[in-house]
Symmetry: C2
């Protein structure tokens, strides 16, 4: 059985990689760009390739699903390089293929704000996928084999992306609004029931997240609350469309978190800024996954259902997008 | 009397500069960026500064309105450096002030497509000024002293920009839809009566254009047709809000024009591509201006009215935006 976390954004370190192994993770999708341009992102990718060399006993790069299976078989965790924004492409279609060659397999269209491709969840909902570059970008990603992620996009951009993409679209890290409610901070990051239903029709998968700011009951979310959310989502969209995307992040300095919030496009943050938000004690790191899977089985999920949610669903749409 | 053309995009050459002198132009706003990023644009600005040295007998850089007056008094044409897109800023507010220091005085928010600031006229009209970077960018331009241009923006972006900007906003080169009609190519580039009225209330100015693709009757536009359009626009918004922005371009290779149409964001053009479109014989270059002013006087414009349209209106809002 594969176990895949479709979004972590911790500062890379041996300690985090060892937690991946302790959690028995087959693969983790990591972020190499938030607001970075092409050159800045290439530097970050270069750093990851250095880490793959230095920690080759426990991590390895994932370019295909076979790479993930090989890593799992050899007791390592495969790392899928991805973007949380399309800024590295600099509105240049040729850079999509170039970054795929450099190892990138997943890219989110926007991170919170509007850009040349689409609009993020901090914008008014009027803007969507641009009919110029946005549509061309999705076609290019489909063609070269890079998965489209819409986790931070606004509703309109997400729905228009489902329509434009010929390959399954991912929501790598978010939760259902109708479970979490609108009374926590940043509720707009979560996804409507309409989005979730259309995602499933389109063939996509959502990675449910333990990040307290978007989880049910916030910092008071128990493992049972989380499993109830899994059940609710499975009932809504089917077992084949639900998975994990923890959004776990650790080890960043405050200035790094400020960078995520405002890039260079603002001189102040539109949302409350704090340092690291503590994750619940049952998921204080990737080590929390084995307990999660055990409790899911106790809660009535069949073995094949646990396997689908743990990694089978991600590996299916990874294969459809970037090759088995 | 000052005579100002608020948009020309010819390939820079001694021949064009001599036409400026023959046309008695006090100042011309030229384009240094269409899709270029920061570094590419700095190179283009560097080329212009080399041209200022090489042709210092007939052209000079304009950083203030006084520079324009000095150029006119010494028989030279002042050159205002500007952008037709905000791509050189790379969504970095600090680059706005940096480019002002480098001599740039006017920047259009978008060139035809959607970007992180707003949306262009080739997009659906749902997208507008982004409430994140778009609003911050306008504030920054207001603060550092760079004029906002919305010539290629879509209706929603234009109206929201009028609301956001504390300084007068320019439509440097466009014509009224209600004069030209919607039956010529690229009609969406022209401006609605609502936009023109709100522009005037906001304090802005429109530069009317002889570019056949957006002019009344297209390639058959006569000088009288053009002067009728001036009259119509003056009747609508008042003498203080109408001026010239020819959109004259000459000397570019086909590949350069293809670059304007599709940048790197598309592999084909969304609009018909042709080489240079011939301007009408009465405006086959900047040499056409003296006849235009003469015929305006014959058509009943008072001397102070001709002066306002020729250059007074631009110099007023230049002073309000980037300093007298």
């Amino acid at each position: 059985m594969l176990l895949i976390d479709a979004l972590q954004f911790s500062k890379p370190s041996r300690e985090r990689f060892e937690e991946w192994r302790a959690g028995n993770l087959s693969a983790v999708h990591v972020t190499t760009a938030i607001w970075e341009n092409s050159t800045e992102t290439m530097r970050e990718i270069g750093r990851w390739h250095r880490l793959f060399e230095e920690h080759s006993d426990i991590i390895s790069p994932a370019r295909t699903v076979a790479d993930i299976e090989d890593a799992a078989a050899s007791g390592r965790t495969a790392v899928i390089l991805g973007f949380q924004n399309s800024t590295p492409f600099e509105s240049d279609l040729d850079l999509v293929g170039a970054f795929r060659e450099a190892g990138v397999r997943i890219a989110q269209l926007t991170y919170n704000t509007q850009n040349s491709a689409g609009a993020g969840c901090w914008e008014d909902d009027n803007a969507g996928l641009s009919r110029t570059y946005g549509k061309n970008l999705i076609k290019e990603m489909n063609d070269v084999g890079m998965m489209v992620d819409v986790s931070h996009c606004n509703e309109r951009t997400i729905l228009e992306t489902f329509e434009a993409s010929e390959k399954p679209v991912a929501i790598t890290h978010a939760n259902p609004i109708d479970v979490v409610g609108m009374d926590v901070e940043l509720p707009f990051r979560n996804k409507s029931t309409q989005v979730l239903k259309e995602m499933a029709v389109q063939g996509g998968v959502i990675g449910l997240s333990m990040y307290p700011r978007i989880a049910p009951k916030g910092e008071d979310c128990t493992i049972d609350d989380f499993i109830d959310m899994i059940k609710w989502t499975v009932d809504l969209v089917g077992i084949e469309h639900v998975a994990f995307g923890s959004d776990f992040y650790m080890g960043h300095a405050d200035e790094e978190i400020l960078w995520w919030r405002q890039g260079r496009w603002s001189r102040s943050s539109m949302v409350p800024v704090s340092g690291f938000v503590e994750f619940p004690e049952w998921f204080d790191s990737s080590r929390g996954y084995p307990l999660m899977l055990e409790r899911m089985a106790q809660a009535g999920f069949a073995e094949r259902e646990v396997a689908a949610i743990a990694g089978g669903n991600w590996s299916r749409i990874f294969a459809q997008n970037f090759g088995s």
